[in-house]
């Protein structure tokens, strides 16, 4: 009989094996799904996982999608380490994109090296402002951050739609809901000439390094971890939980805001309604898949970036529906959470209970 029992100590092997196991299970399930719907599974998986990264432009595209994921995930890691369940990276991202676009449109007639930093900074501030609302609601009114950040995501999206359909709409855009194209001085330089890969990826990698330093070396990172693991120990030690909560939210807002700003000043070059295919939400998966560790989130953001591109290729090459990306992401998260159970638990084969010798024993041995 199978028995799920608690391990005496959490398994450190499983902690890192779990994401890999989840990936394998996702691939196997994908294989079966392709079979069921009558597509060639080997071909399908190849289009999904291999084709996108088989040449330089493909790799550049991967880096392009990685950038926003990595930035959002870096900020979320800071929140999640402290068990502040900020689901609002999508909202921060949209507000970052919105803020940067407003500033870029304002500065469309000027040129100068300072234009881009100002535009990006406005995006950062936009994200921070949105995160600050959730932080304030949590620290002063004890509102659950999961609910507030999700709701703020929808408000941000509608705000963006309003602006792009209204004040910022390009008057010569044939009625399309989009802003004017930004001036050259407000655009991010390319990282590799001839590809769309831009400086955003460098921001993302820097953010990952910063997260690593924060949690491996700094006292603030330590305090955040203590808050996450043991609220009463944090109170006992005298850590300023309220200030640290603000810190985590503001970092989360800043990085996601920068991601949004980098997206509109990078590959898109203007504000459009579909500025995010759900980067802020996917970043949540990245953080958990990457074990809230800097190196892990870099690898995980690459993998999740692949699901976006792979999904697009499958749509074109095999006429699969758009939902295939979300399907793979969902499978991955589902298997990850399942496999994570085995960090703290293990399966044991239960021997049949020993038969008592005395015939006087009233009841049969207990079966579990």
């Amino acid at each position: 009989m199978l028995l799920l029992e608690r391990r005496p100590v959490a398994s450190s092997v499983m902690r890192w094996a779990s994401p890999l196991l989840a990936l394998v299970l996702t691939v196997i399930t994908g294989f079966i799904l392709f079979l069921v719907i009558g597509k060639d599974p080997v071909e399908g998986l190849k289009f999904f996982f291999i084709t996108p990264i088989s040449d330089l432009p493909g790799l550049a595209e991967l880096g392009l999608k990685m950038a926003p994921l990595l930035l959002c995930a870096a900020g979320l890691t800071v929140c999640y380490k402290a068990k502040l369940w900020n689901i609002g990276a999508e909202g921060h991202f949209l507000m970052g994109a919105l803020g940067a676009s407003v500033m870029a449109v304002q500065l469309s007639a000027v040129s100068g090296f300072w234009v881009l930093p100002v535009v990006l900074l406005t995006g950062v501030l936009g994200g921070m402002f949105w995160a600050a609302i959730a932080a304030g609601l949590k620290t002063h009114l004890h509102c659950n951050e999961i609910l507030t950040t999700i709701m703020l995501n929808y408000i941000a999206l509608n705000l963006l739609l309003y602006v792009v359909h209204g004040p910022l709409k390009d008057p010569y855009g044939f009625g399309f809901p989009q802003s004017i194209m930004f001036a050259e001085s407000a655009l991010l330089p390319a990282l590799i000439e001839g590809t769309r890969l831009h400086l955003g990826l460098a921001f993302g990698l820097l953010a990952a390094v910063a997260v690593w330093v924060l949690f491996a070396r700094s006292f603030i990172g330590f305090q955040l971890s203590v808050i996450g693991q043991d609220h009463r120990a944090a109170a006992f030690a005298g850590f300023r939980v309220r200030q640290l909560t603000w810190f985590a939210f503001l970092v989360g807002g800043a990085t996601a805001g920068l991601a949004g700003a980098s997206e509109v000043t990078g590959p898109i070059g203007q504000l459009v309604p579909q500025v995010s295919p759900g980067y802020g939400y996917t970043a949540i998966i990245v953080v958990f898949l990457g074990r809230m560790h800097a190196v892990g989130i870099v690898a995980a953001s690459a993998l999740l970036a692949l699901t976006f591109i792979g999904g697009e290729i499958l749509q074109i090459a095999m006429q699969m529906p758009k939902a295939v990306t979300a399907l793979f992401q969902g499978l991955l998260l589902f298997y990850l959470l399942t496999c994570d159970a085995f960090i703290h638990y293990r399966i044991r084969l239960k021997k049949a209970a020993p038969q008592p010798r005395s015939a006087a024993v009233a009841a049969a041995p207990q079966e579990v």
């Binding site: 100590v9 203590v226 043991d230 009463r232 120990a233 006992f236 030690a237 005298g238 006087a360």
Partner: protein, 515 residues
């Protein structure tokens, strides 16, 4: 074996084995309880006492072994069956509904037809409680009862169900000395009438005065059977802890110096309706002395500790350290001024379970040069941690072991060491040896005395009166958030302390004693 059993043997356990992941809680235990016998089950925390009780009461099923009840081998599936057989148990934490009356609580555990006739039930409760000297009004609400009275409700509930084996899990830990005396009188009456009693405890003197026989457990096995009245407490302690552990501390007299801590009319109102508020607490503490605060759990001990540590901020009154008011400071700011705290919960407040010992050193000792310009100096943290481990004899695999992997006693030594190495001027320790093995308890007592001799002022909050009398040179008691006067230990009779624990003191008396 079962054939030659006499009717006088009420319960016989043979070779009981119960295994949990990573630990064999009961490893082949034999135990015999005769009718009318008061049988002590002794052992340190983790020796397997509670598991064995749960096996008898049907809460858990043994992996191996036989239970023989009144001559018949039985299988106890659940507590309900145990109760039908005549086994009653009073847990350390009572299972009573605060918002119901005594009679209603008792009715809940009776068969429906007996529970329905309330007036008859009330009469039975009164009869039983009177007969065994446990005054109880069936119509009173549980929330208005003292802890001792609640325990009576639990015992009466067992007796009404015609219990022939009563299991009491550490029953005296929540009682004042007077209440203990009256409980023992009740238990002796019960025993004379043929009811067997299994008395779980680690307080040796109590066991010696009450119990006919004792079974001592150590690490899941029976380490000895004895007649506790016949042998000395230290001989019993030997059976509990094994051969190579010291079992007591020699405490030299304290030489108190000038006043360090002054607490004046401290008030704090609890936001929890069932919580305890602090009410006009006054306290003086001198350098080089240990002052003990006795009291039954939940009478404001934790609140007092938190008010001193800074985890809660009192509504009124002052706390001053060498004349400096620290009332408005945060815990870490107070720590910088030399305040060290050892909280009651060592895992989950004093230490983070999943973090390494080194990281746990950083929890309170960050001010000892372990953090520079916001960055952690890992090498120094590890050195500090190793120093604590070495100086305080913490048994572990090194500073990278997680706090949760240490035994209670070792973790407590680590926490006390962490605070002691910061050269505190004031140490407030709450229940420092609760649930700790005897060897570690001795080491902890020694380090407290050493700190005292180095000139620190120590406030010791404890429920263990032996500990308080042994270590402290002044004693007082907390009851319902009020602090009694403090009296020199040598002049304070235990009866007087018991009255203070029950709240029998005048607030004016306290004010007078302080002034």
């Amino acid at each position: 074996m079962g054939l030659c059993m006499t009717a006088a043997i009420r319960l016989k356990l043979e070779n009981i084995v119960k295994e949990y992941p990573g630990c064999r809680a009961n490893d082949g235990i034999d135990l015999t309880v005769e009718a009318g016998e008061i049988h002590a089950l002794l052992g340190e925390n983790g020796a397997g006492k509670s598991t064995l009780m749960k096996v008898i009461y049907g809460v858990v099923q043994p992996d191996q072994g036989r239970i023989v009840w009144n001559g018949h081998a039985v299988h106890v599936d659940n507590p309900a069956q145990a109760r039908r057989m005549g086994i009653g148990m009073v847990f350390q934490h009572f299972s009573l509904f605060e918002t119901l009356t005594v009679a209603e609580n008792i009715a809940l555990s009776l068969p429906p037809d007996e529970a329905r006739n309330r007036s008859q039930l009330n009469q039975r409760i009164s009869e039983v409680s009177e007969r065994y000297g446990m005054e109880l009004d069936p119509r009173r609400y549980i929330s208005t009862l003292s802890v001792g009275e609640r325990q009576r409700v639990e015992i009466v509930r067992c007796l009404i169900q015609e219990t022939t084996l009563l299991i009491l899990d550490e029953p005296t830990s929540v009682l004042t000395p007077q209440e203990v005396t009256s409980l023992f009188a009740t238990l002796r009456t019960l025993s004379k009438e043929g009811c067997s009693i299994l008395f779980i405890s680690h307080k040796l003197e109590e066991v010696r005065s009450l119990c006919h026989t004792a079974t001592v457990l150590r690490q899941g096995r029976v380490s000895g059977d004895c007649q506790p009245a016949e042998i000395s407490a230290s001989e019993i302690a030997r059976l509990m802890v094994g051969d190579d552990t010291p079992i007591s501390t020699q405490v030299t007299a304290a030489e108190p110096g000038e006043t360090l801590l002054e607490v004046r009319s401290l008030d704090w109102k609890s936001k929890d309706p069932f919580g305890t508020s602090l009410d006009n607490v006054n306290l003086d503490l001198h350098k080089g002395e240990i002052v003990g605060i006795a009291g039954v759990a939940g009478n404001g001990q934790d609140e007092l500790l938190k008010a001193l540590s800074g985890e809660i901020r009192a509504d009124a009154g002052t706390i001053s350290l060498s004349g400096q008011n620290i009332q408005t400071l945060f815990p870490d700011q107070r720590r910088k001024l030399g305040v060290a705290i050892v909280p009651e919960e060592r895992l989950g407040r004093g230490a983070v379970p999943d973090m390494s010992l080194a990281d746990n050193a950083l929890l309170t000792a960050s001010g000892q040069g372990l953090v520079e310009r916001g960055l952690i100096r890992s090498r120094r943290v590890r050195e500090f941690s190793r120093e604590v481990i070495r100086r305080f004899g913490v048994r572990c695999t090194g500073e990278n072991s997680t706090a949760g992997s240490l035994s209670g006693g070792n973790l407590q030594k680590y926490i006390i060491g962490r605070e002691a190495l910061q050269n505190p001027r004031l140490l407030v320790a709450s229940h420092p040896t609760w649930g700790v093995d005897v060897g570690s308890a001795v080491a902890i007592h020694e380090s407290l005395v050493k700190l005292r001799d180095e000139g620190a002022a120590i406030l010791l909050i404890s429920e263990d009166l032996d500990e308080l009398y042994q270590l402290c040179n002044r004693l007082g008691a907390l009851c319902d958030g009020r602090l009694s006067p403090l009296a020199p230990t040598s002049e304070l009779h235990i009866e007087q302390l018991g009255q203070w624990m029950a709240g029998e003191f005048e607030s004016t008396e306290v004010a007078h004693a302080v002034a």
